[in-house]
C-alpha cells in the first residue's frame, strides 16, 4: 500500500479541490459576464464538487490523526498516540496548516449551500465566483505552501502532541470552529456586495438576499469572541478574560465593523441611504479578517495565541493587499452608484442615530487597529521591540463604549426622518430618569469607580429604553385585544421577530457591559501561601488545602491540591486547582478551579507544583464579581440572533382566527 498512503490521498484531494475551485472561479466569471446559464450551472456544480473533495481531504486528515499515521507530516508534528480521541480529532485545527484547511473546508461548504439555496438573480453568479476565488487562495495555500499531507519517508514512532494549552479544556473543540464559521459567514455578504457593485445593482437586493447569512456570521463571531474569553479565563491562570492581545484584537475588529454593518443595513432598507457606508463596512470587515489571519500566522506579533512564523505569512499579506485593492478599488469605480444623493433630514433622527453608531464603531476599530499595528510600525522603523499594553486600549475605548451604550438606548426610540420635539423630550425625560435612578442607587451602595458607576447608570437608562419600546409596541395592541397581556406579548414577539430579537440582543449587550464593568473594576487578586491543613481567608471565604492528589493517564500527569472552601463555618465546595503535564519534557500547564455563583466567581490557580514532599500551596486567588454575567450575556446574544432568524408567524391568519373566535363568543 505504499503508493496509496493517506498522505498521498490527502495531497491529491487538496490539489483537486484547488483545481475545482479555480474552475468554479474562472467559469463563474465567464458565465456571469456572458450571462450564460450553462456556464453558470457548471460553476455551481463545481462548487459542490469542491466541497465534497475538500471534505474528503478533511476526512483523510482525521483518519490519519485517529489511526496515528505518522507518515503524514501534520500528524507527526502535532499528534501523539497517547492523546485521548477528542484531542486527536481537534488536532485538525490545533496548528497552522490544519486551521487553514478547516477554514477552506467551511468556506467550500458555505459556497456549496449558497450555490443551491440562493435565489436566482444577476448577483448570484458573481457572488459565487468571488467566493470561489477566495477558496482558490485558501486551498492554494494548503496545497502549495503549507501542505499538511506531505509524506514522511521515515515516520517517527510518536509525536509531541498539540500545544499543551490547547489540550487543557474542551473549549478547544468549540472556539476555533465558531470563529471560522463567523469569518466565513461574513464572506458571503462581502461577495454579494462586490457582486452588487460589479453588476451596478447597489440597491437593497444584495443585502436582503444575504440577511440571514450576515446575521448568522455575526452571531458566530460574537459567540466565538465570548467563548474565547471564557476559555482564557478558565485556562490561563491569571483570572482574566481579555488582555487586548493582538490575536484577540484581530478577531474583535471585524466584529465591530460587522456590528456597524448590520445596523447600517436597516437604514438602507428603509430610506435607501448610507449605501456607501454599508458597502465600505462589509469590505472593511472582510479585509480586517484577512489582515487578522495574516497577523496571527506570520510571526510579526508576539502573542500567546499566535501560530508563529511560517511560509504562509507573505502569502496572506499579499492576499490582504489584493483584497483591499480590489474591494476599495471597485467601490471607488462605482462610487457614483453608491454615494448618497440626499442628505439627512435631521441629525436627531433614526438615520442620524445609525450614522452616529457607524462613526463610533469605526472609531473603536481604528483605536484597536492603531494599538495592534503600532508595535509593528515601531519595530519596522527603529528595530525596537515594543508592546502596547492594555492601559492604552482601556483609556481610549472605554469612553467610546459609554457613548455606544448611550446611543443604544436612545437610537431605537428616535423616529425616522425627524424627531418631533414633544415625543423626543418625553422619551429623553424617561431615559434620564432611568439613568439618574440607577446611577443614584449605585452611588448610594458605595460605588465610586467612574466606569462601573457610569455603566450601571447607562444600564438603567437602557432598561428604561427597552421598557419604552415594548410599551410603545404593546399598548396599542392591548387596547385592541381582549386577550391576556402575556399572550399579546407572545404574539408580538413572534410576529416581529427582528424587533424582538434586536431588543434581546441589546439587553444582552447591557448584561455583558455590567459583567465587564464589575469584574474588571472590583476584581481582587491575591497570592496566598497556605500550609496543608492550615487556612487563609480571602474575601470572606476560608480556604483550607486539605490534601494533595495526583493522576496519571496515558496522555498526562496531573498533580494538584484539594482546597476546601468555607464561609461562616459552612463548607461550600471543594476546589481542585492543578497542574497538567502533557507528554515528557513539556511545560507544566496550570488548570485553575472556579467556583461560580450568580454574583461572583472565586477562582483558584496553583502557582507551585505539588509534589509528594511539598508542604504548602501557593494559590493565586481571584475574586471577580459578576463575571458569569458576561458568559450569560453571550448566550443571550446568541439567543437573540437565533430568535431573529426564525421565520415570523403569519399575522393575518392569526388575527382572522382570533377575531372569528371572539365574534363567535359574542
Amino acid at each position: 500500500m505504499h503508493y496509496l498512503q493517506l498522505g498521498h490521498l490527502g495531497s491529491a484531494s487538496i490539489l483537486l479541490a484547488f483545481g475545482l475551485a479555480l474552475y468554479s472561479a474562472v467559469v463563474g466569471v465567464l458565465g456571469a459576464r456572458r450571462r450564460d446559464a450553462r456556464l453558470q450551472t457548471s460553476a455551481r456544480l463545481a462548487t459542490v464538487a469542491t466541497f465534497l473533495v475538500t471534505a474528503t481531504a478533511v476526512a483523510v486528515m482525521e483518519a490519519a490523526l485517529i489511526t496515528n499515521d505518522f507518515s503524514v507530516l501534520y500528524v507527526a508534528e502535532h499528534s501523539r498516540i497517547a492523546s485521548p480521541l477528542w484531542v486527536k480529532i481537534v488536532t485538525l485545527w490545533a496548528a497552522l496548516e490544519g486551521s487553514i484547511l478547516l477554514w477552506g473546508f467551511l468556506l467550500t461548504g458555505y459556497t456549496a449551500v449558497l450555490a443551491f439555496t440562493a435565489p436566482l438573480s444577476p448577483l448570484r453568479p458573481w457572488a459565487l465566483a468571488i467566493l470561489s476565488s477566495v477558496q482558490v487562495f485558501f486551498l492554494g495555500v494548503v496545497a502549495f505552501l503549507a501542505n499538511p499531507f506531505q509524506t514522511l519517508p521515515n515516520p517517527p514512532m510518536d509525536g509531541p502532541g498539540p500545544n499543551a494549552l490547547l489540550q487543557n479544556h474542551w473549549m478547544m473543540a468549540v472556539h476555533p470552529v465558531l470563529m471560522y464559521l463567523g469569518f466565513v459567514g461574513l464572506t458571503v455578504p462581502f461577495a454579494y456586495a462586490m457582486a452588487a457593485l460589479i453588476t451596478r445593482r447597489p440597491g437593497t437586493e444584495w443585502m436582503v438576499q444575504t440577511r440571514r447569512w450576515t446575521l448568522t456570521g455575526w452571531g458566530f463571531l460574537g459567540a466565538a469572541i465570548v467563548a474565547g474569553g471564557w476559555w482564557s479565563y478558565e485556562v490561563l491562570g491569571w483570572g482574566g478574560y481579555w488582555a487586548w492581545d493582538p490575536v484577540e484584537n484581530v478577531s474583535f475588529m471585524p466584529w465591530l465593523t460587522a456590528t456597524a454593518f448590520i445596523h447600517g443595513v436597516q437604514v438602507q432598507e428603509r430610506r435607501r441611504m448610507l449605501k456607501s457606508w454599508n458597502v465600505m463596512l462589509i469590505a472593511l470587515t472582510f479585509c480586517l479578517s484577512i489582515l487578522g489571519t495574516f497577523l496571527t500566522r506570520s510571526g510579526v506579533v508576539s502573542s500567546v495565541h499566535a501560530f508563529g512564523a511560517g511560509p504562509v505569512g507573505p502569502a496572506f499579506l499579499a492576499f490582504f493587499v489584493l483584497v483591499t485593492l480590489f474591494a476599495f478599488g471597485l467601490i471607488a469605480l462605482r462610487w457614483d452608484d453608491v454615494r448618497d444623493r440626499a442628505e439627512l433630514d435631521a441629525v436627531v433622527s433614526r438615520e442620524g442615530g445609525f450614522l452616529g453608531g457607524n462613526i463610533l464603531f469605526l472609531a473603536l476599530t481604528f483605536a484597536v487597529l492603531l494599538g495592534t499595528l503600532f508595535p509593528l510600525v515601531v519595530e519596522a522603523l527603529s528595530g525596537q521591540r515594543v508592546t502596547v499594553g492594555p492601559p492604552f486600549f482601556d483609556q481610549v475605548t472605554l469612553p467610546l463604549w459609554m457613548l455606544v451604550l448611550l446611543l443604544m438606548g436612545i437610537g431605537p426610540l428616535l423616529p425616522w426622518r425627524r424627531a418631533d420635539g414633544s415625543s423626543l423630550r418625553r422619551n429623553l425625560a424617561w431615559l434620564a430618569g432611568g439613568f439618574v435612578v440607577a446611577g443614584g442607587l449605585a452611588l448610594l451602595l458605595g460605588m465610586r469607580e467612574i466606569y462601573p458607576t457610569l455603566t450601571v447608570a447607562l444600564a438603567g437608562y437602557n432598561l428604561v429604553s427597552l421598557g419604552l419600546l415594548l410599551s410603545q409596541a404593546l399598548v396599542p395592541r392591548l387596547r385592541l385585544s381582549t386577550r391576556a397581556p402575556m399572550a399579546v406579548l407572545w404574539s408580538y414577539a413572534h410576529e416581529s421577530r427582528r424587533r424582538t430579537g434586536s431588543m434581546i440582543a441589546h439587553l444582552a449587550i447591557v448584561v455583558v457591559a455590567i459583567g465587564i464593568a464589575f469584574s474588571s473594576g472590583y476584581r481582587v487578586d491575591q497570592q496566598l501561601r497556605i500550609g496543608f491543613n492550615q487556612s487563609a481567608t480571602f474575601q470572606g471565604y476560608t480556604l483550607t488545602p486539605v490534601d494533595r492528589f495526583m493522576e496519571r493517564t496515558a496522555s498526562r500527569i496531573t498533580s494538584g491540591a484539594v482546597v476546601r472552601v468555607s464561609k461562616n463555618g459552612h463548607v461550600l465546595t471543594t476546589l481542585r486547582p492543578r497542574t497538567n503535564i502533557f507528554g515528557s519534557g513539556s511545560r507544566p500547564v496550570t488548570k485553575p478551579a472556579v467556583m461560580d455563583t450568580f454574583s461572583h466567581d472565586l477562582y483558584l490557580s496553583l502557582d507551585n507544583t505539588i509534589g509528594p514532599d511539598t508542604t504548602y500551596v501557593v494559590l493565586r486567588a481571584v475574586y471577580s464579581p459578576l463575571v458569569s454575567w458576561i458568559w450569560f450575556g453571550g448566550l443571550l446574544l446568541v439567543f437573540g440572533v437565533v430568535f431573529s432568524l426564525l421565520p415570523a408567524r403569519r399575522r393575518l391568519a392569526e388575527h382572522t382566527a382570533t377575531a372569528a373566535e371572539e365574534a363567535a363568543k359574542a
Binding site: S302, A363, A367, L370, G371, F374, V378, Q384, R385, V386, T387, V388, G389, P390, P391, F392, Q395, V396, Q527, R529, T579, R587, P588, D607, N608, T609, Y616, V618
Partner: protein, 142 residues
C-alpha cells in the same frame, strides 16, 4: 455654511482625539530591552514600565516563602541588575534560565509584577567562563 461648520468640528474632534491617542500610546508603550541596552540610556526609560530580558545569574536566587518575595540577579553577561518579584517562582525558573520580567526600576532594583520564563530549545546557555552571544539571547527571549 453647514458644511464649513461640520468640517471645522470634524477637524477639532480629530485633533483632540489624535492628541489623546498619542498621549495614551506614549504612556502605554512597553519597551523590551536587555540589561546592557538599558545601561546605555537609563534616563530614557525612567518611570516607565519596561520588559527586561536576560538570564538568571547562578547563585543569586533567594525566595522568601513567607512573604512570597523572589530576589535574583538578571544578566546578559555585559550588565546585571537585581530583580525583586512578588510571587512564587514558576516551575521552569532556575539558574541560567532565560526570563523576561516586566516592571520598573526603583532605586536601582527592578521591581516586577510579571515574570515569564522563556522556554526555548534554540538557545543553549554557555559553559561558565564563556561569553554569551547577546544577539542570540535577545532573539530567543522575544
Amino acid at each position: 455654511m453647514r458644511k464649513v461648520v461640520y468640517a471645522v468640528l470634524g477637524v477639532a474632534v480629530l485633533g483632540v482625539a489624535g492628541f489623546m491617542i498619542y498621549k495614551a500610546l506614549n504612556n502605554s508603550l512597553v519597551y523590551f530591552v536587555l540589561p546592557n541596552e538599558y545601561a546605555k540610556d537609563p534616563s530614557g526609560f525612567a518611570n516607565r514600565t519596561i520588559r527586561l530580558g536576560g538570564l538568571v545569574e547562578p547563585g543569586t536566587v533567594h525566595f522568601n516563602d513567607n512573604t512570597l518575595q523572589l530576589h535574583f540577579i538578571i544578566t546578559d553577561s555585559i550588565q546585571s541588575y537585581p530583580v525583586e518579584y512578588q510571587g512564587a517562582p514558576p516551575d521552569l525558573f532556575k539558574a541560567n534560565q532565560g526570563v523576561v520580567v516586566e516592571g520598573r526600576f526603583q532605586k536601582g532594583t527592578f521591581v516586577s509584577d510579571q515574570l515569564l520564563v522563556k522556554h526555548s530549545s534554540n538557545y543553549k546557555p554557555p559553559k561558565p567562563g564563556q561569553p554569551i552571544d547577546v544577539n542570540m539571547l535577545k532573539k530567543t527571549l522575544q
